[in-house]
């Protein structure tokens, strides 16, 4: 559980020192005051990336040289630790309790964060890159080896593509990247396939829980290479000449997609906005279920961030949503105005105003007053 958040020059926060002691936390404020930025900072601590941008320069306060995020969190043992991220032009520095740590997995394994965001629907309706990013982020939390393999594959791919730009490139040089790619790709593809099946199962179960009918939902993992390391190796070798003509690697993990199918219909082409929105929500609920099942009762590390997405849900869906995310150790919500929901009776409430956050004594008091 997060106990303290310190920000410097992060988005619109010049300095923030925020003590947190509740499981459920509400951040109330008008748009543009910094509610989402706070969730982004929490997400960054656990994933070392933003849920909004890949450009680090966007995260620092305009005019500053870099940003700092410090988080004090308590694990199951009751031991409090400080996780700190310093980001500037020279790169990033991660430290845990003041000790500099070179590996991002040291940080990532201490938090398991699921963020519910207004543009989640894009995962269902948008381009395949958004779906791969969704899958990659989740598998990176649950399996550090996944992140390493994916990184190896993508680096080797980038280098192989650089070599392929020359139409007379040395075949041996093109081939030099293939053993690395084959090994990493076979592993990543296995994980993606397994996750697609798990996701379909979890989503199906959740949908059946809402509507009490068989869901007819499935997820199909689409990859152009089936099989293990050997198969990838052969395919890379077989395509080498063609790839040289094309000037890039024309197949592989970087083109994978995940089809979300409801009643035999591909959602991104034939689903209604309502269906796509529901599936995007349930998809992330499924992730919470998977994390909760893995945590085996130790839910401290699971953090759920909800950025203003509950407003449009019907009552039954909202209750199911609250039940599922209730499995997390800690919840952070943003709202433009205080919700009347009984669910938030014991929540800690904060007012967010132009990069400053002040605790409001309790939601009870606000509700009664």
């Amino acid at each position: 559980m997060i106990r303290q958040i310190e920000l410097r020059n992060f988005r619109n926060y010049e300095t923030l020192s925020l003590a947190v002691d509740a499981e459920c936390n509400l951040f109330i404020g008008n748009n543009g005051q910094g509610k989402t930025n706070l969730l982004e900072a929490i997400f960054f601590t656990s994933m070392l990336r933003s849920f909004r941008t890949a450009r680090m320069a966007e995260l620092k306060k305009i005019g500053s040289r870099g940003f700092y995020i410090g988080t004090k969190a308590v694990a199951g043992t009751g031991l409090a630790r400080w996780y700190e991220i310093d980001y500037n032009n020279n790169g990033r520095r991660i430290s845990i309790d003041g000790k500099v740590s070179p590996r991002s997995s040291d940080l990532v394994r201490n938090f398991r964060t699921v963020a519910f965001l207004p543009d989640d629907i894009g995962i269902v309706t948008g381009n395949s890159g958004l779906r791969r990013r969704f899958v990659d982020m989740f598998l990176s939390i649950t399996d550090p080896h996944y992140l390493v393999s994916l990184h190896h594959y993508l680096s080797a791919l980038q280098m192989r593509n650089a070599v392929l730009k020359d139409s007379r490139a040395d075949m041996g040089l093109i081939a030099a990247y293939e053993p690395i790619m084959a090994k990493a790709a076979a592993y990543v593809a296995d994980c993606r396939r397994e996750y697609a099946a798990r996701l379909a199962l979890e989503i199906g179960t959740l949908l059946e829980g809402f509507y009490n009918v068989s869901s007819g939902f499935s997820v199909r993992y689409r990859s152009d290479t089936e099989g293990g390391i050997e198969a990838w190796h052969n395919k890379l070798a077989a395509e080498r000449r063609k790839d040289r003509l094309r000037g890039f690697t024309g197949f592989g993990l970087q083109l994978d997609d995940f089809d979300f199918i409801l009643n035999d219909k591909l959602l991104r082409h034939y689903g209604s906005t309502g269906q796509c929105r529901l599936i995007s929500l349930v998809m992330k609920m499924a992730n919470v279920n998977i994390l909760a099942a893995e945590a085996q009762g130790n839910k401290d590390k699971i953090i759920v961030l909800v950025d203003d997405v509950t407003g449009e849900l019907d009552d039954a869906t909202r209750q199911a949503f609250y039940r599922v995310i209730g499995q997390a150790g800690q919840l952070f919500f943003t709202f433009t105005s205080l919700p009347g929901d009984d669910y938030f009776r014991h929540a800690a409430v904060f007012q967010v105003n132009n990069g400053e956050i002040t605790p409001v004594s309790s939601s009870n008091q606000v509700n009664n007053g």
Binding site: R103, M159, L173, A175, Y177
Partner: protein, 202 residues
Amino acid sequence: MNGAEYPEALEELIELLKSLPGIGRRSAERLALALLQWPPEKLAVFGDLMRELPVRITFCPECGNLAADGGLCPICRAPSRDRSVICVVEQATQIINIEKSGLYHGLYHVLGGKLAPLEGKNPADLNLETLPRRIDAGPVGELVLALSSDVEGRATAAYIAGMLAGKGLRITRLASGLPAGSDISYADPETLAAAFSGRIVL
């Protein structure tokens, strides 16, 4: 001259020192001012050494290791070395580290880097041309690829292995006892010795 600036000659020296790895403006200033305190004789010796550096320190024409006055390096010259094994390294400084482990008695081949197509570093930029010739000329039976464990190092190893396929060589790499993310430049002698004794055939 502006009062907030150093005299031009000193400023030039600071700029030169700044181009060294790990030296920022502040350190360069400190070094330059320290040099200023040296007696003229000492500075003259220092200057002579600098001037003669490219002539007196050369690269071994055989293996690419650091050598003196255009000759072979001490390892290539030593009759006691095992000429049936060549260990390929990225940098000459890594040889010193491997020698400290005391377990390797063969010859070396210094690449001068690793393949990095994104930075425009291609096979032609590495000391690769002489390697097949050395193998054809001598009684070489094993090639040890002691390259870094990152993607670039692994691809460089795969490229060399492919290039020399068919020469009937035993091509090996170091056992992966080295700490993750590090390379042989930073490994201690015991770890390196273990990595050498547990070589893996590619």
